[in-house]
Subunit: 278 residues, 4 copies
């Protein structure tokens, strides 16, 4: 009893330490981007024998985990992922967690990490997860639609660039029988056109026919969809129940693998970005 | 090819967006505390039928996940946990992730979250995890040993206070047959001494004999331990192998459930805190 | 010599303290507003017998000091002042002082303060400045044109509101012979229309005919102006010097006292705000 | 009336812009250092023909302006100045301006700037101030006494280093008749001992006899002083007034020009620094 009483008294005596917390709320009227990256995923991919240059199971699990984040946080208007990274864009007017940067980024990273482990089996089946993976995150603010689109373009350009490189590199190693070291040297200084040519001439691969998910990455957005549901109803007058077909409109996360650098995607989905105003 | 070329060019055109990132490195020579809390764990506990007032499996899993964080991040000098929260204290001189707050907190929260799911079965056996849980985190800086100790005292005082309350509350409900609402009303305004008295008179429970892990929470620190290992050796001269006993000193994470508000713990472990200097 | 040598050595030993400085650079692509306010100007005005409700000399000195700031810092696209406050708006794309908030605000406040003392005599003549006045400042970021215009509207609305109040208040005191206390009570709860009515019926003052500088505050912007200069020239062929009239275009700070809440001012000066972009 | 009414309504409509302000309060229990530097003082010194290597009038005016800052802000426990810079140290426990960095630094810089102009005549007599000078400022936090002392040592070591260099340089130019360029080349690579030797052999100057204010800079601290005041009193019983000598203790700013790198100064003034605590 004695200890507990003093503890209660002590609690108020210690509470001053809360004043050391700082307010890290994000500037208003800016897009809030949370980007997460896998930690040591080069090693993680090796330990779990990910296929090269792209592992469909791993990309699927990343996307599924990102969907879990969006399901929890409806203020995310678009997410873009490639390789072991994913970016989540919160709408300008979001007041989620009072826009506190620490809350936003830790929640995204936590939900993503626990989902990644939780859904592992759905994508890797009996291949066991050897240890819990780590992701880190950061917050960046973008004041204008132009800035935000340039951010997303930057990430997709990185995807395009990296994936072409990886595709040629692994073709040289896996099909061409070259060592990694030799392949690195050969590719030094080559342009995109050169890499396409090597793929086509040497390995009969037309890069543009490769899967869009690998070449373009994954875009997740909310879209309204009509759903037709059968509903058993009984009208007050009748005695028999009848089956009625009801159409409902629901917001669901949809997946795209298209270009987001150009105008077309944004013209087709005008609701993602808010107007910058007069 | 054309697309890829323009993408490469585009990449450098878009890279200016990196300048929108801000430097959030923590002030030097301060303890960095990352505290994480379960999100909606009240519901999570209900969904997973956690025992009341304390569930040994849940506390065990929290502690095990915290150990995973410490194993990854050796600059954590002490961690303290209770209920669905855990605080990790990085040493004053840590330069991990260049002391960037976002990296530190997201890494802790991510490792903790994925570990929580990964090790669920070890603590809950066949009882399934129904959905991936979420944790959020924050960073707080403490400049002096006194401030840091007051922070840890604040968290332990909260544990002592809350656990006594919960113990009486659930005794009234589970053993006393009262409703939650009535129990809340009864406990309003009672002091620690009153609660101890209720436990003792009504339920024959001496609170001070309750488990220390519930009353005091969990402290994790690094400690050197002597390990004796048998090693089979063959000296160059001899022909037979012999067994030698080798003693090694290893740093391992040790668990405590003692008082950290008073002086004794800190006197027994003088290496946890750095000297404030002249 | 000995001391100096050790000092040199010491210097490098102490330089680690620079790492405690933090980067406070402002988010890109946002307007940077530095607002300064007089410290204890209520008292300062009394000590220097400023006329009530408005002192032309004091307002003139404020505006002149603001011009000095703009002359030093060409990235200021518009400044707005009223009473003892002035706001300076840096263009979105400014990279002045690497956008460091501390440099921007201290420079503005310092230049303003030293100018205020330096030019005192030009506005107050032989009435002496009794002690050096103080101003404090802050930095606020606005991401969009709408936000910035709303900020400026907020300050002008404050000016309109405050000046109407002060005009009636001092009419009641100076012309009506009421005490301050009674005037405060009388004005409690009155609307703008009521105040206009009091001015008109009691004191035969049509508020809309009052000076615009008092009702609307002061706007400073850069404007191109044609200047005609006489230039004495001697052509290589001729022997006599001749006077030529040369017209040059120069950017100069111009003063306005108009409404900036509505659209007209912004339509007439389309160059102040940058386009938010596509 | 119509305009004013809408302005009042508008004011509340615009007030949302206040939410764009950020909280920049300084971490508790840290020393807050505000350092200010003259802007373009190299040119300012030339325009006002400051004596080289040190101008007593200019240093005196800097120190007097710093005293004005301290008189306004009693939480400054020590200030250190040299050349065209001054550092002000606020006590760890200060809650002035709620520890807001922007308020603290702008107030210091503003008070210093206006005082510099206000008191110019007291130091430069009839030599006119040609234009209002500018200073910029920054805020740095130091968590421990050691860090703070190292900061002050860093600034004094800079003073010692720079002043010795300047003394030799100007001796070579002014007394030795060398050009600036040649003097720079000659001094390249010389150690402190070399510079002392040059001063002594070539110019018969013993550097250690030079004025301490130049070699060590200026330290300002609060000190209690006994003041003896004559007070004319008349006791109720007597009829004649008598002169009584009353001793009062007053806190006043005192000036020192001694070493603050070593222990002695701090041992003699134990009240400047707060204890770091247990």
């Amino acid at each position: 009893a004695c200890l507990s009483t003093s503890a209660t008294m002590a609690k108020s005596k210690f509470e001053y330490v809360r004043n050391f917390e700082t307010d890290d709320s994000c500037l208003r009227n800016c897009y809030i981007v949370v980007r997460l990256d896998g930690r040591n995923f080069h090693k993680f991919a090796e330990h779990h024998t990910f296929l090269k240059p792209n592992d469909g199971r791993a990309l699927g699990l990343m996307t599924h985990s990102a969907r879990c984040v969006m399901a929890e946080l409806e203020d995310v208007v678009i997410a873009y992922g490639q390789s072991d990274e994913f970016s989540f864009v919160f709408k300008k007017t979001s007041t989620l967690f009072k826009r506190r940067a620490s809350k936003l980024m830790t929640h995204v990273v936590s939900q993503f990490s626990s989902s990644y482990v939780f859904y592992w089996r759905e994508f890797f089946g009996d291949q066991p997860l050897l240890y819990p993976p780590g992701f880190d995150g950061r917050v960046v603010l973008y004041p204008s639609n132009r800035n935000l689109r340039d951010y997303l373009s930057w990430r997709q350009a990185d995807c395009i660039f990296t994936n072409l490189y990886n595709t040629v590199f692994w073709a040289l190693v896996q099909k061409g029988g070259l060592t990694s070291a030799v392949s690195v040297v050969l590719l030094k200084g080559t342009l995109a056109a050169d890499k396409n040519e090597i793929l086509f001439s040497e390995f009969n691969v037309n890069y543009n026919n490769e899967s869009a998910v690998h070449r373009k990455g994954t875009i997740l957005i909310w879209e309204r969809q009509e759903e037709t549901v059968k509903k058993r109803t009984k009208s007050p007058r009748e005695e028999k129940e009848t089956d009625a077909t009801v159409t409902r409109s629901r917001r669901r996360v949809q997946e795209h693998h298209c270009d987001i650098i150009g105008e077309q995607f944004w013209q087709e989905h005008p609701d993602i970005l808010e107007q910058d105003g007069p």
